[in-house]
Point group: C2
Chain length 148, copies 2
């Protein structure tokens, strides 16, 4: 494969990623969750199962723990999460989603589903599944880097 083809593939993928991020965020806002940024969504993904500490969140997002702490301040202030005592470590605090945080997460899932349905109309359900499977095999582990 030529270099220029690889670049074209990369550009296409990045354009789709940008569009996807924007559409999900718009969908979330349209469902009444204002003041949220895409970075919050990435945080919610990490917080969703059982909560996480600020440091864990920082690693997940690829930022300093100070930045993660500020982000937590923000989503706590807006009612999407709350800080609790950490069981078994008095230094740490467990950040967990509130009911509103869960509602926002569900809204993001709905928005994502809308976009993916659009893909389904262009490609067909089977190809979307194939796409998911292929991407799953080349995806990196662990953290996300939400800043370019």
């Amino acid at each position: 494969m030529q270099n220029s083809e690889a670049m074209a593939l990369s550009t296409t993928l990045l354009a789709i990623a940008g569009e996807l991020t924007q559409r999900i965020n718009e969908g979330v806002v349209a469902r009444g969750f204002d003041g949220v940024r895409p970075a919050h969504g990435f945080a919610f993904v990490r917080l969703a199962p059982d909560g996480a500490t600020v440091t864990e969140l920082a690693v997940h997002l690829g930022v300093t723990k100070q930045a993660a702490s500020q982000l937590v301040d923000e989503i706590v202030r807006k009612g999407y999460a709350e800080r609790r005592a950490h069981p078994g470590d008095a230094r740490a605090r467990l950040v967990v989603l509130t009911e509103r945080g869960w509602a926002c997460t569900r809204a993001a899932e709905e928005a994502a589903a809308e976009v993916v349905r659009g893909w389904g109309q262009l490609l067909g359900e089977g190809e979307v599944r194939a796409l998911h499977e292929q991407l799953g095999r080349i995806a990196p582990y662990g953290r996300i880097r939400p800043t370019w």
Copy 2:
């Protein structure tokens, strides 16, 4: 397809996009082009064929023309582009890549090709081509939104 599956697909795609952006940028820096950010790469894509005006660049990048102008200042100062008189419009200035700008673009293509080769080893050449074709069909037109 369930909402949670759509979200999983979205998360996977965004994780790959983040990884890809980071790897390309690292590859470019490793080839000796320091002081470049991913946003510069997106600008180069638009400038590459025949140059562009600041306003065209701003639309392409999805930012204000002031921001685009600052970005042009930066890449001009670093020797990647230069401003020329616009033929046929004395208000406008045509921003074109310098030889160093072209070299940097080729370096980005090489870096992208390295990453895509890695995908080829995981998926096989045929599946990478299929991926490219599928993504091409769901890609949005025109501009890129390099900020989340």
